[in-house]
Symmetry: C2
Subunit: 332 residues, 2 copies
DNA sequence: ATATTATGTGTAATCGATTACATTGCGGGG
DNA sequence: CCCCGCAATGTAATCGATTACACATAATAT
């Protein structure tokens, strides 16, 4: 690997001139520029970013923290983030925290250590005060999953309202006993979705009892288990709202294995509109978040922070959509 | 953000001593160490990695390049890579190339620029000679998808043999007309799987014609389209082998929409054993790769390269497994 | 008592870039 | 012919760490 010094010597100029050529700044007379560029090419030189970054105190890399790349929900969001980042000269790397607090901390050290310029959090394990400090010290934006209290900006949908719409949809179809599959881990979005669910039941004049909420972990397997719990109840629900598509799909599968007809005997609504939700039998009614746009918006907020703009928006609430398919309405 | 100089001044020692404390190297007398550590804590100091990396010429970060984090197949492999990396003090970041050659190049610049110590390629857009050069200059290992000619080490399964087994399984069930859903992009693995398919047909004494191979893009949608093409054929196959689970699942869906019974009227085999393959109706027969172990092995090879060990293995072929489920054998 | 060694700490070079400031040379106005 | 100003390039400080080497002091050997 060649350095700027070697290039300078070989081209018979100073390192300053080489640097000027690389950054095509200032004036370099055409003849010199060509000579330097030829040498750069010959030596296959590319500037060492550690040197550059140390001097500039910036890396033009941002990182996206998410609990698991295996959850298909994240892919589109990352694409949106990447699109905006690239058009502003930034590179995006994805960091898989596996919901491990220690691993998450290791990644966030990259921020502290200045190896990345900013971070998007799509989920966090840390507590409010840690997040608050993080947001105070570094450019950080939350996307989709968030903690409100911490003063860290976020982009999200109105989870309560989305859940409300999903459950109201079930109620409007005549269901009077509606279950919910939520999550044990208390994410804020899960709490909001539960609130929306309760509100919808109340507004539809339906009764609620705690047995109607089961708890999973966002994955298929837990959806199946929750469905089995519902099946064992005396007074079974005829419809279920799950806060993730994989859980909804797992539930669908379990219900069908028990011989229930979907949506006649049991209606199911999911959340996130992952691609597979159109592949299962029947197709899944679900809440679609504008994932790509959310990613774009998130990156815009982050760029503003990195550039230290003032008076920045703290919250952006995006529109969602209830996508009605065969798991709630036959033949749609 | 405080620097090592500030810490040194505040503690009344030299930067060398502070550095020794941080790296707990050499001898520092207990009293000095405590004083320095107290100051470090008070100033909330953490070493600037750009300075350190510049000096050490290493970052202890490795990157994984993959075409799309939305393909669930990659998640487990990344977990394996991460496990081994972490236990060796390395951090893993995932880079989403979107199969875009330019984006891929941008990420690989991080290698050239010394911002990462090594890379795992799970798929590449570059041609053989580029890959060959990359492998010569930097620590790089291919995983799962690979180019053999380039002399870059790789970890994989025997794709031809796996496809052979899948197709032989179909033949052994009495199918005599067996289609294949392959990919337009000519990945090496796709070519090998086609070879295995052809060999299996030949060994089973079955006829082949070019119409029996359709081409998709590894996604659900393309699987559905290929299935529709099969349905329009005069002499339809009664079984189909797809080189990715999403395509197999898409095909399954399309066949069922046309009223075919699976597996009676049409048997389907996929490839990769993604989690959804157990959630679809019926469950999908597929080839399971030992993804987690492949990730571990890949990272081991990469670590060896980073540490400049000699006489390293160039190829590691792992065992796969044909998982038989309801899409080929009823009730299994 | 002196020479030798070990121990702890400091000084300054170094990694590879960027960039403020200095220098050089040249053309034009007076 | 001198001086000024501008354009092109060079010199050297700087970013924040690590580390070879130097040095001072104390402990030990002779």
């Amino acid at each position: 690997m060649s350095t700027i010094q070697q290039v300078a010597k070989a081209a018979g100029v100073s390192v300053a001139t080489v640097s000027r050529v690389i950054n095509n700044s200032d004036k370099v007379v055409e003849e010199t520029r060509e000579r330097v560029e030829r040498v750069i090419h010959e030596l296959n030189y590319s500037p060492n970013m550690m040197g550059r970054n140390l001097r500039r105190n910036a890396t033009e890399i941002i990182m996206v923290l998410l609990p698991s790349i295996s959850n298909p929900f994240y892919a589109q969001t990352v694409n949106g983030i990447t699109a905006v980042a690239r058009s502003n000269g930034f590179t995006v790397t994805v960091c898989n925290t596996l919901s491990d607090r220690k691993l998450e901390r290791d990644f966030l050290n990259l921020l502290k250590f200045k190896l990345v310029d900013g971070a998007v959090l799509m989920s966090q394990e840390m507590d409010d005060s840690e997040l608050e400090e993080l947001g105070r010290l570094y450019p950080v934006v939350q996307c989709s999953e968030y903690i409100d209290a911490a003063g860290v900006p976020y982009v999200t949908i109105d989870n309560a309202s989305a859940a409300y719409d999903a459950v109201s949809h079930l109620a409007s179809l005549g269901h009077t006993r509606i279950g919910m599959i939520s999550s044990k881990v208390n994410y804020y979005s899960a709490a909001q979705r539960q609130a929306g669910y309760l509100q919808a039941l109340q507004d539809a004049g339906l009764e609620f009892e705690s047995e109607l909420i089961k708890f999973g972990d966002y994955g298929y397997g837990s959806g199946m288990k929750c469905a089995e719990q519902f099946m064992r109840m005396q007074n079974k629900p005829t419809a279920v709202f799950a806060i993730s598509d994989p859980m909804a799909i797992g539930a669908l599968k379990a219900f069908r294995q028990k011989g229930l007809k979907i949506p006649e005997d049991m209606a199911v609504v999911g959340f996130d509109n992952i691609r597979f939700s159109k592949m299962c039998e029947p197709e899944l009614t679900t809440i679609a978040q504008p994932t790509y746009k959310m990613g774009c918006k998130t990156m815009e907020l982050l760029l503003d922070r990195i550039e230290h703009k003032q008076d920045l928006p703290e919250k952006v609430i995006m529109e969602y959509e209830l996508v009605i398919r065969g798991s709630t309405v036959a033949g749609s």
